[in-house]
């Protein structure tokens, strides 16, 4: 126990250390980067939309929280290994395919259930669409100019990229992109809430701050956003400035919350591509043989990495029988434990484990 406390202190100090150096550096570079992009985008600050000022402040605070969380997290030994080796393997041929699969179409969520997949497509892509429109507007990387002849020009980073008819389909999608996004997110969040109400299975472990708050925040953003459009079209702008402030406020709160709650999976999720590459690459290189049955069950690299990570945490599972527990395949490892309990060498009996999956 003593040793444990000592190592905890150790990591505590290195996180603080990161805060003083990495954190400040990343924060500084990002803010400078955004300022430069704004300078270019706004043609030397001549096109700033000050209505969007709140978002700017919110984004900066978000970036602070994000770096704080990400750097503290990256200091953990297993995370460090995956990030380091994942970056090295980023140029694998399969990376684009894995990335699209894991980060855009979420095949693996579909395998968890069609309902969960549709729900996540709506929420995830709704949010991505909204961000693709909002952020360039906020930082004035993109804006629209109206010409007398019924055409709009979309200006991106100070360049006129597109010239569209004000009544045309592209223009319609451009003004309505945020409404479409809001409807997608509302539908997705309603699906998530309905799943919690109707399905006991989905309700197992939930805390308000972790589980419900992000859903309510997304719902609040979407509905206030839709109300803005409604006020514009039906109520001729009645109370629109007030609603605009409420909407801005909801986005800012969400941005600040994002790095700490359930939504933190968004920036962290690309790690799943790292993990897949790591398993595939080292699996092709050399597989570990189970010390009891000889089955290939994990790459040598990963087995060694896990043993090392556990070592950092003062855990050494070296057995007197001459192996580390991480060197046994899972069925053998379970049988080995039965043998330790019973005194009979269950793992040496050449009978495959059977009847372990109750069909409920």
């Amino acid at each position: 126990m003593q040793a444990n406390i000592a190592t905890n202190k150790e990591t505590g100090r290195s996180v603080n250390h990161a805060f003083a150096s990495h954190f400040a550096k990343s924060m500084f570079l990002t803010v400078v980067g955004i300022a430069i992009l704004m300078f270019i985008g706004t043609r030397m600050f001549t096109h700033i939309d000050l209505n969007l000022y709140g978002y700017m402040v919110g984004t900066i605070v978000f970036i602070g929280g994000f770096f704080y969380r990400f750097i503290a997290w990256g200091e953990r030994p297993p995370t460090k290994i995956i990030i380091k080796k994942g970056l090295k393997l980023l140029l694998r041929k399969s990376t684009p395919k894995t990335a699209v699969n894991h980060l855009a179409i979420y095949d693996f969520i579909r395998n968890r259930g069609l309902y969960r997949w549709v729900q996540h497509i709506l929420i995830g892509w709704g949010c991505v669409l909204a961000c693709l429109v909002t952020f360039p507007l906020v930082f004035s990387w993109m804006y629209f100019t109206m010409e007398d002849n019924g055409y709009y020009t979309i200006v991106l980073f100070g360049m006129n990229v597109m010239h569209v008819k004000a009544e045309g389909i592209i223009a319609w999608f451009s003004y309505n992109a945020l409404n479409i996004a809001a409807i997608m997110v509302t539908a997705g969040v309603c699906m998530a809430l309905y799943r919690r109400l109707s399905n006991m299975q989905a309700r197992a472990e939930q805390k308000f701050m972790y589980d419900f708050l992000p859903l309510y925040l997304l719902l609040f953003i979407s509905i206030t956003g839709l109300l803005l459009t409604f006020q514009n079209i039906v109520l001729h702008g009645w109370m629109q400035p007030q609603m605009s402030l409420i909407h801005q406020f909801s986005v800012i709160v969400t941005l600040i919350y994002l790095p700490f709650g359930k939504l933190a999976h968004i920036p962290f999720r690309p790690m799943s591509v790292f993990a897949r590459n790591y398993r595939e690459h080292y699996g092709e290189q050399q597989m570990k043989e189970c010390k009891v049955c000889g089955d290939h069950f994990v790459s040598v690299e990963q087995s060694n990495d896990v043993i090392q990570v556990l070592g950092v945490n003062d855990m050494e599972f070296n057995m007197q029988d001459g192996f580390n527990l991480a060197e046994l395949c899972l069925p053998c490892r379970r049988k080995y434990r039965i043998s330790r309990f019973s005194g009979f060498a269950t793992h040496q009996v050449k009978v495959k484990e059977a009847n372990q999956n109750a069909k409920g």
Binding site: N4, R76, P78, T79, I82, I83, H102, F108, I109, N111, R112, M200, Q201, A202, R203, A204, E205, H265, F268, M271, F274, A275, R276, Y278, R279, V298, Q302, S303, D305, V306, V309, L310, N313, M315, F317, L325, A326, L328, L330, P331, C332, R333, R334, R337, I338, R340, F341, S342, G343, F344, T346, V349, V351, E353, N355, Q356, N357, A358, K359, G360
Partner: protein, 186 residues
């Protein structure tokens, strides 16, 4: 009154009620997360269950790069958070007892969560509730201590608690000594 899962291994009759019960816990999607083994399958009928022991310092959680395995305030080591698990399978390699299961299709690890939807409110876990042979029980620390005294064989065969386990655990395990010819008295 805080209670723990307590196992008396040799009572097990191999009925696999605990596996069936486990499929019905909240969030389990009808898949069980526990095991029942034949001790010496070619010779006799003795069976023993194998469960997550909910380590005080869990190797699975320490090895997870995504911090997907959370430790509940009751001490239960939870299953991977569905939105955080990145599918690296470190946890399956790290666990000294081989407990976490991995679903390749769903890219998701799942393991015993001590039926947290029940035990967080002091309701016994599913497996302990259905076990017909008193192998799995839900007891207070005092009750467990009494059991340990009752069954302390003191003959070097006491291999189910520290220092024979790989670390301190929240679930307590015991051998009533049936295999050594001690008649079991409840």
């Amino acid at each position: 009154m805080k209670k723990r899962l307590y196992l008396e291994l040799e009572n097990c009759i191999g009925c696999r009620s605990c596996l069936a019960a486990c499929t019905q816990c909240g969030g389990h999607e009808e898949r069980n997360r526990n095991y029942v083994y034949d001790v010496n399958p070619l010779v006799n009928r003795q069976t023993m269950p194998l469960m997550c022991l909910h380590c005080v310092n869990p190797a699975c959680a320490r090895s997870c790069p995504a911090q997907a395995i959370q430790i509940h305030e009751t001490g239960a080591v939870l299953s991977a958070l569905v939105e955080k698990c990145i599918g690296c399978q470190n946890c399956t390699i790290a666990c000294p007892y081989g407990i976490p299961k991995f679903d390749t299709e769903q890219n998701l690890m799942y393991k015993c969560d001590l039926c947290i939807d029940r035990t967080k409110d002091g309701i016994p876990p599913m497996c302990a509730s259905v076990c017909p042979s008193n192998t799995l029980q839900w007891l207070t620390d005092e009750e467990i201590e009494a059991k340990q005294k009752q069954f302390n064989l003191d003959n070097g065969k006491w291999v189910t608690s520290m220092p024979y386990l790989e670390g301190e655990t929240n679930v307590k395990v015991n051998l009533p000594g049936i295999l050594q010819g001690v008649t079991k008295l409840f």
